[in-house]
Symmetry: D2
Subunit: 351 residues, 4 copies
């Protein structure tokens, strides 16, 4: 593209939380331009009435309906819709010639049977599953460049995959027990009994004891058998942030300097993945609070005596690196833009 | 009554938050016995499925429907139902010969027109309004003894009335500006967009700028014209607790020792109202956290230079002294029991 | 004892958080009478200045110094002092003929070498270690009856032991991975950089990755080798409450009904231990919020496919069952009182 | 300056919270370059050890001592030191020829006697008080351009002044009652008993009933007599954010459209001040959460019946617009840079 040109972007599901983050990022992105904030239920409302923190940016913009969005000229669409409902919209957009980043779960799993097993429905556009690139640049940078369809990541999956990838790609994982702790924004913007403040506040809630549904994604992306993994999900008191604590049994004994080398090799050049220092001790493992509002991931680890087991902890902002941030990072690659464009916001801490 | 006898109690709206507190209190009450936890929507469910903290107490009890409750023999009923829907149930119960404490707003206001002005509907049992005694023993102890129908208090109203009563009964209030800060349990147990954790967490939300609807109760109970009062309501981050901060313009100049005398005269013998000391300075004004789980009220005050204005702050647990606790305290008086029976739980702090 | 008689109780470390809970419990205890709230640093201050929620109960009482406590006649002492500093006070009290419940870590471990390994100092009164009974009535009810010296429990240890005890006593534990989540009150009442609100609020902090120091107690009480256990401690956003999540590899395959039988056999008659139902699913595992302010423990579990692994989760109030509550329960047994005396407070929820 | 040039910046007190925000902003500022993060107590430590969220940005930078800072060439200094200790450092820096933005209270008040009255000490550099420009561009844009010494704002003062300025500049304020609600980061980074998490969490603490010390600044900047104002400060549960609720008695009756005109006239062209819409009703008054991490201020208002009183509410991030953000905005004006340079971060919500 020429230096002056912009890419026109449509955001579907713009009234949700990941949608709000997409709007926030795009507002500061040097080459993406919002041409439509699409929302079935909010159509006609001012963006500021749903995202009051962005009122000053989008003071004159209203949500448009999916019907109206059909006639809006655009280069790329971000679809942040419930799983099962996203796939058809995606197909339409592809047919119109747009590039698409789909933030739902509909294109994350390559195998239709696996999708059906975890989500209880069969994929509506199975032939697109193979084409979709999993939107984690740390694993798929090359494929993302020029891709037409990218699947967004599950937030818990992203935290888990980034935690384990440096070990998994060298076949070092014999077994991994993932303990995920998540904030309330993970559940989206619809109120439920479980999200009612008196009940959700300060909760320590085991949401899923053994096999959170993002396990399928993690196994696929790390080329591990699902049996190798378990994934407990706990809801804790925070709004943003997910922390993945992986207790790993290694297939061969390692030394601490080996671990450092593996993680540095994997992430040394990554713009958004940062390793925690071994000292001071209280900073060895990351808190998601250190990434709030940014696209950053922090990872820390420690080896147990004997060297056959280790704890690896990752932390990220579920709405950013776990959703909208990775989506924009992927879109940058799809469009041939600098990978970090629009993602230079630094974490806000303490909040 | 004989020493062995108990009073049989029905709780309507037992699946709600005030209902849960009534069940908690009754479980430890020496002379009240629960004979029915009534809930239209939860009928047939185990009490523990709605109030899991009480599962061990009511392990064999299920909610019953209002229809089934009609045939349950009882002495007293607590009705914790939405306003507008409570009055009719109350009338039925009175007709059956039960004593009733109604925790809704339906019998708080003596004047039908005032009720209609604040609640937008006309009272369905207007002839009962005069009979109903306002269930704040600190003001109506004598009338509560032997009453047949008692109205529960509004939580914000209770905090406000107790704050101002020692001044109001001596006509010392020229004007009072009430700033009320409330936790999320005040909104009850139904999830709404406003109670959705990501939005409600750490909120500083001005819910009502000038005239929260409890203002009518406060004016009535303090014999003040409504114009004398204003009442701002803010939602803050906590689940339980309400704090009323009253900035009062006095009708005549006072000294600090006058204030102390007025408050000691009013509350010196009250079992549940406690005054904060002038020192240490950081304890002068009470935090609702100091009352959590108890029927206590704490009150603190300070006079401004000149003696014509003062700040009075009260703090209480909205589900206890602001609802279920005052209801039981009133019921004790109605039934001729020791006023404090069943209410000996001490505040849990820090929580 | 005769019906009129009381046992006179001294509380050392009465200005701390567990101390405050002891004062709260004793204030409502039918046979314990507080004869001295001992605090070196608060000596001379009103109890209410440190525990403002109890101001109305102890309105005329001040803390006394350890020196003055020496001349106070008493039957039993509760010592809630820092480890390493408690043992000597305990010895003096025993020499004076008092019964003692020590809430520090000084008498928890039977083996001096184990104590030294975990706490970095040698025990000052090693000959008392064997005599001290570990103050968890669920395990040591018989020995506690009439004991002269009882050691309080570690809060994380209590949660862990109660989680695993029904499995451990039948040698069913091949390996257990304990993931402990704790609130800020666990750290006591002294402000530190780590407890500074801007940093501690909403923290997800891995405090100890593999071997929290309470592991020694857990291994001892369950007769397990320490290598069998690991114990991760995470600080989460809450003030009160500890949740222990034990991922257990069983030494033989079980069915879900076997698990139920084991836990019912162990706890069916326990006054304070309650099992979570298998349904509704969201209540299967307990949240510490369900125990706030009470001496209750809730335990829930689920078996993985195959029956060789299970997740067991326990939840309790660290200042109650994890400290002051178990101490009083043990004292009741030591003194021949009803075990539950003074501990009839029900959980306050939601808070 | 030429297009390539940068201004070299020193940050004193760089280990504190406002210091951390200065480092965050400067890291993304197009023309400011950090040449020294000065901290007496952290000297020699890595920046990331104190500000772990910025570790990836300042991976090779350590804090330097004030002594070493003396030899660092710089154009501008930000001094974020305790009041009373800042003034002397500022004088030295000015003597060295640097421009200075001082975030302490030392240069906020023009009148030495007023400073002494509020802070209890006399100003050490009284002759500089007149020169210092109060660093709120909305009031002093012209004077800030080219100023040598700028005083940062008090966070509560900034919220209050911006709340009232459109009324005050037209002499419309007869009396104003300011109710300020603040998060824990306002207290800085040093742990105290009051900031200890178990006590500070969910606090509703009246810190100052009538006259918070920022009142002096507010009166000065609005040209009001101090008697016209009162300023209550409450600590509430949040880390960042301050909300000022001003109940104003107007000197003449207004209509709502008058209020709108006054506020639009004052702020219509301001880059960081945004007015809340009258509808939807729940968005009429701003929550500080809507500004988190940004330099934004939101302001909302409503008139009471009769038009002689109104409620005006402002909300901002105390570490940004209330400290570091306004400091950078002022520095941009001092240095002739675009006023908004480096301040384009959008609020992160919900957090």
């Amino acid at each position: 593209m020429s230096r002056q040109s912009c890419f026109k972007a449509l955001v579907y599901g713009a009234g949700g939380m990941a949608g709000g983050e997409l709007l926030r990022i795009i507002s500061g992105h040097p080459t993406l331009e919002l041409v439509g904030a699409v929302s079935q239920s909010k159509s006609g409302s001012a963006i500021g009435s749903v995202h009051p923190h962005l009122r000053h940016i989008y003071s004159k913009t209203t949500f448009i309906s999916p019907e109206n969005a059909r006639t809006v000229e655009a280069d790329i669409a971000f679809t942040s819709l419930p799983h099962g409902r996203s796939a058809e919209t995606v197909r339409e957009l592809l047919d119109r010639g747009l590039s698409v980043v789909d933030l739902s779960a509909d294109f994350r799993l390559k195998d239709p049977a696996t999708y059906e097993r975890w989500y209880g429905i069969s994929p509506s556009q199975p032939y697109l599953l193979r084409e979709a690139v999993y939107g984690l640049p740390e694993l798929h940078r090359t494929q993302l460049a020029g891709a037409r369809l990218v699947s967004g990541v599950g937030c818990n999956a992203a935290a888990s995959i980034l935690c384990l990838y440096p070990l998994a790609r060298l076949n070092l994982i014999q077994e991994a027990f993932l303990d995920i702790r998540a904030g309330s924004s993970e559940g989206g913007s619809t109120a439920t009994a479980g999200s009612h403040h008196p009940f959700r506040s300060r909760a320590l809630r085991i949401v899923e004891p053994f096999s959170h549904r993002h396990l399928g994604e993690v196994a696929q992306e790390l080329s591990l058998r699902e049996e190798t993994l378990s994934m407990r999900l706990s809801a804790v008191e925070t709004v943003r942030g997910v922390q993945a604590c992986a207790e790993v049994t290694l297939s061969s004994s390692l030394k601490e300097r080996d671990l450092w080398r593996l993680y540095r090799d994997a992430y040394g050049n990554e713009p958004f993945v940062h390793l925690c220092p071994a000292r001071p001790a209280h900073q060895r493992f990351p808190d998601p609070r250190l990434t709030t509002g940014s696209n950053n991931v922090q990872i820390g680890f420690a080896l147990r005596e004997g060297g056959r087991r280790c704890l690896v902890v990752s932390a990220l902002d579920n709405l950013m690196k776990g959703a909208a941030g990775s989506a924009i990072q992927s879109a940058n690659l799809m469009l041939g833009l600098p990978e970090v464009a629009g993602l230079n916001m630094q974490p806000v801490y303490p909040v």
